[in-house]
Every structure is written in structure tokens, then in C-alpha cells.
């Protein structure tokens, strides 16, 4: 076991992928000479050269599309879109090409493409740089959507994604990059089919992913002090959702709450809530609760942004209400 940051875990996985397979290459804005906007690919250009760690111009649509094309033609591109905020410029390529070509071609084509991007708010970057739009991606058939919340998943999910024959989108919450944890530096791909229970309890099911997992966990600690034991579930895979794991927990706890940084209306939390009710109505002693982002463009000021994002006290309060 070694200690690594989430950032380093990603980097080690990218490096291993580049070492293991000649067809793998990285492409994106500033992945090379700059070292990556979040320093994830720092140093890789020196080791693998500018062909395989390929700086792209500010042309999101073209380089994401080029990733799709290269994947169609035998390569294994790992494209970095820097942040989800800029991925709107590539949304046409993602929605209309990456997600459809296999289907539209009657199964002839396939696209072993990995797209990574940072997501989320909490860094006072304002309304254009703080989106949590992975929920939109989770709506799209034809792609897999991952959200590593731990250092182990950061490494293992990249290694798993690169083996997939179809497009995989990895959302890295920008506040997680500096987080440290112990990890087996040689560990390989992790499974990317299931949610994970990160803490076991019997009274309530807290569901999160990415950075909201941490908030759910810290709420669970506070709740435990009050005698409420929470199951804490890390969704991990946002598409396809592993609702079995969630429902198994709710069958036991009879209460569920999802934490989601995204705007509440139309959030992934809505889907999770709807599915819990559809499949687990009789388990429920209380309606599924959601603690989500406020429905405002992200404000810059610290106190305003804090108020716009789900915070631990709000989670604790919502759970307390269930037991009032």
C-alpha cells in the first residue's frame, strides 16, 4: 500500500494504460506541456511524447469528435475535456455520434473511447465554471458514466474504462484531486457495474456519488452520534444505475435520502428517488428525500455558494425529520 492523491491515482492509471497498449493516447486542451489543467497528466508528455499526449487547440467539438473517429478506427483515445462546463461545446458529438453510431450502424461500429472531465462546484468559480451536469450524461443510452469518489476508484475506473468497447465518461469532482488515501499502486481495473456500500447502518440509506459521498459520510458520522445508523451508498456508476444495491439497503432501512450537487429539478437524485419508489414502495416508511443544489446559477461569493450547495447540516436535518 502507498499513499496517493486522487490526482496521482488518475495519473498512475493513465500512465499504465499508455504503457500497456500502444493504441492508447491522451488528447485534450493542455494535457501535455501545461501538464493538465488539474495537473493530472503532469509529466506524461515527457515520458510518452507529444503524439501520445496530445495538446489540442480550443476546439472541444472537433477533438471530442476526433476521439470518436480515432476510436472507430482502432485506437483507444482518452480524451480530457478539462471540465464539464466546456463539454457543452462537444455535446452534439457526444449525444449524436458517440452514443448512437453503434446502434445506428446495426452493431457494425464500436467506439472504445474514454472521456474524462472535472465536474462540480465549491471552488468559487461562478456560474459558468461550476456545473454538475453528469446527470445529463446519465440520461444518454449508449454510454457508460462513472464517478469515482475514492482514490482507489480514480485509478481503477480509468483502467476499467480503457478496456471497454463502448464510450465511457468519467466525471472527476474537482475538489477531490488533492484527496489522499492508501492504495495498492499495482491495483488493476475495478468492476464498474455496482454501487458500493461505504458504511453500514440500519436506520436510513444515504446515497451520494463523487464529492457528495463525502458529505453523506460526514452526515452519517453526526447521525451516528445521535443514534441514527446510516447505510451510505456510493453510486459509483451513474449509468447504468445499480438500483439493486440501493433497494437492498432501503429494504432494510425503510428510509432513503440522496445527496446531489446538481440543481434539484431534473437531477439524478430525482431518478434515484423515482426508482426507489417504483421498486420499493412497500419498504418505505418515509418519502425518499433529496438534498440537492439550489436552483440558481452558481454564485461567486463564498457564503452564497456554500448556501447553494448541499451541506452536511442540511443532510442531518433532513434525516432527523424522518425520525421526528
Amino acid at each position: 500500500m502507498t499513499t496517493m492523491t486522487y490526482r496521482e491515482a488518475l495519473r498512475s492509471a493513465l500512465r499504465d494504460a499508455l504503457l500497456a497498449d500502444e493504441r492508447v493516447f491522451l488528447m485534450g486542451e493542455d494535457v501535455g506541456r501545461y501538464g493538465g489543467a488539474f495537473a493530472v497528466s503532469h509529466g506524461l508528455i515527457d515520458e510518452f511524447g507529444p503524439e501520445r499526449v496530445r495538446d489540442a487547440p480550443l476546439s472541444e467539438s472537433a477533438f471530442v469528435g476526433a476521439g470518436i473517429g480515432a476510436a472507430l478506427n482502432g485506437m483507444r483515445p482518452i480524451v480530457e475535456v478539462m471540465t464539464v462546463n466546456f463539454s457543452m461545446l462537444a455535446m452534439d458529438q457526444i449525444l449524436n455520434n458517440a452514443a448512437t453510431l453503434r446502434y445506428m450502424s446495426g452493431g457494425q461500429l464500436n467506439i472504445p473511447l474514454v472521456v474524462r472531465m472535472a465536474t462540480g462546484g465549491g471552488r468559487q468559480l461562478g456560474a459558468q465554471h461550476s456545473h454538475s451536469l453528469e446527470g445529463w450524461y446519465a440520461h444518454i443510452p449508449g454510454i457508460t458514466v462513472l464517478s469515482p469518489a475514492t482514490v482507489a476508484d480514480a485509478r481503477g475506473m480509468v483502467l476499467a474504462a480503457i478496456q471497454r468497447p463502448d464510450p465511457v465518461f468519467i466525471f472527476e469532482h474537482a475538489t477531490l484531486y488533492p484527496v489522499e488515501d492508501d492504495i495498492d499502486a499495482q491495483s488493476g481495473a475495478v468492476e464498474i457495474e455496482h454501487a458500493a456500500v461505504r458504511r453500514r447502518g440500519k436506520d436510513v440509506t444515504l446515497i451520494g456519488y463523487g464529492a457528495s459521498l463525502g458529505k453523506a459520510l460526514s452526515a452519517s458520522t453526526e447521525l451516528a452520534a445521535q443514534g441514527i445508523e446510516a447505510d451510505v451508498i456510493d453510486l459509483r456508476v451513474l449509468r447504468p444505475l445499480d438500483m439493486d444495491t440501493v433497494l437492498e439497503s432501503v429494504a432494510k432501512t425503510h428510509r432513503a435520502l440522496m445527496v446531489d450537487e446538481a440543481w434539484r429539478t431534473g437531477s439524478l437524485a430525482a431518478e434515484v428517488s423515482a426508482q426507489i419508489t417504483e421498486r420499493g414502495f412497500d419498504y418505505l416508511d418515509w418519502p425518499v428525500a433529496r438534498v440537492c443544489g439550489a436552483e440558481v446559477p452558481a454564485p461567486y461569493a463564498r457564503h452564497m455558494e456554500d448556501a447553494s450547495l448541499p451541506q452536511t447540516p442540511a443532510i442531518v436535518e433532513a434525516v432527523q425529520e424522518m425520525f421526528a
Binding site: 487547440p57 476526433a66 480515432a70 478506427n73 446495426g106
Partner: protein
Amino acid sequence: MSRRKAVTPPADTPLEREHGIALLHGMLRIRRFEEKAAELYQAGKIRGFLHLYIGEEAVAVGAMGALRPDDAIVATYRDHGHALARGIPAGALMAEMYGKANGCSRGRGGSMHFFDLSRRFFGGYAIVGGGLPIAVGLALADKMRGAAPITACFFGEGAVAEGEFHESLNLARLWQLPVLFLCENNRYAMGTALERSESVTDLRRKAEAYDVAAETVDGMDVAAVEAATRKAVEAVRSGGGPRLVEFETYRFRGHSMADPELYRAREEVELWKQRDPIAAFTGRLRERGMLSDADLESLEAAVAREIDDAVAFAEAGPWEPVEDLAKFVMSD
């Protein structure tokens, strides 16, 4: 007819009889195939959008003739001509338009989305401009592997206004990728004339902004199309980076079957029809004594048989079972 630009005069390649007949045959196949498709559309056998290529046949036939089987092709929603010229069997295309399981995309694509991986036909793209980045990526893969194939990417002049044109041409030239951009300038994007969609209508000037060599060719002359494309293909294949060829052409029919054609004068259409690429090339072959009435008859007969067979193939094709609805969303 609007004023014509100076186009590169056709290289006067000596035309072999056999080759000439093959070109004519290629164009006739498209024409008759589409006439039949239009009929079947009226009859409700074909649905969705149907974009006819009639009038533009010289472009697909001439250009495709200059490409190799291992080159990759990217086309648009107006893809019947490209698919036929590439050698996808007419039956598989007709069946696709019927929505049958023996269609080239198993009925999932329809007229706008023909695919044939075995022929490296990477599909018809229906978001205008959406195929260009894909072509860049296909070429990037070849370049990174040091492979010889190039990628040919067809698109309409309307796509030139899209941001993806700009991004793709820049990327292709910046990375010196083996892509051949083939612009089918039929003067209209739906009802919008080039003059109302581009401040600079000479598209070669666009290409220059990326240092991509470009030329404009008479797209109604199949031999000129072929010669120009061949030259461009050679330049691209030999590592010279991307090129662009613009074909001046015209669609004789509406944009799609629903087009009321309010935006152009009947006279303009009639003038262009006088330059019908098939009639023109037929005349040329005749003049040179390469084509007899009997030759033409037997060509037409062969084409008619092929179309009949294609329709029969489509009619006889099975429907994809509804239980397979979700098949191919992802790999198994």
C-alpha cells in the same frame, strides 16, 4: 444560373472506353435507384426523410473512383450516391430504407444513416457538419499508426458555416492528417443560398485560412471530378496533409421530399438540368464513339435489373424482431 467562378479546368486525361462506361453506369445506378426510392416514398414503403442526390451523381461517382478500398468514407444524410458508388449493394440500401433487418444498418439507420464497415463506409451523418470531426479522428488513427489509408469526408456547402468546419480543418492541417475534404457545393442549404450563408462564397478562400490547399471543380463533369480527386488523393496519401476539393453541382430535386422549393426559380433549376451530368457524359461518350444506342440500352437494362432485385431483396427482407430493440445500444 448564378455567375460561375473560375474552376480548375478538367485535366484532359484520355478516357478509356471501359472506364467511361463504368462511370456512366455508376451515375445511372444512382439516378435510377433514387427515382425508384422517390416512388417508394410516395407509396409509403420508405419513410422518414429522403434526400435525393439526383443531379449530383458525378460527384460521388467521380470521387469514389479515386479512392481505394481501404480508405475511409464519411458521408452526409444525402448518402445514397456515396453508398452506391462505394459498392454497397443496392439491395442492402433499399432494404435499409424499408427498415428491414437485411438493410445495411439493420433497419436502425434509414436513408440518412447508411453504414458498411466492410467497405469502410463510416456512415451518413445527419447533423450538418457532424461528420467532419469524425473524419479527422479516423485520419488521426491512420496517421498515428503510420497506415496508408486516407479518409474522404463529404459535406455540403451549408456545413461550411458551422463551427465544426473551422475546428476540423484547423485540426487536420495542424496535425497534418490524411483527410480529404470533399465539399458538395449545390448552392443551397435547404432554402438558403450560399450567398446568404457565407460572407465569402469562394470556399477556397476558407481553406486558405488553414493553409489547406483547395481547388474548385465542375461537379457536373464526372471525368473532371475523378481527375481532380485523384490528384488530391495522391497529395494527401503522400503525406501532404489535408486537402479540400469543392465540387460545383446542383440538386435537381427539393432538399427532401417535403420541400416546397419556394426559394429558387424554376428557370434556375431548368438551366442546371441542361448540364445534367448523366446526359452530358452520355453525349461525350457518344461523340467519342464509345457508346452506342445498344450499349446504353444494355446499361439501362442492367441497372433496371439491379434496382428490381434491390426492391425484391427489400420486400423479402425480414423485420428485425421487436425484442431486439435494445440490441446494439452497447456491445454485449
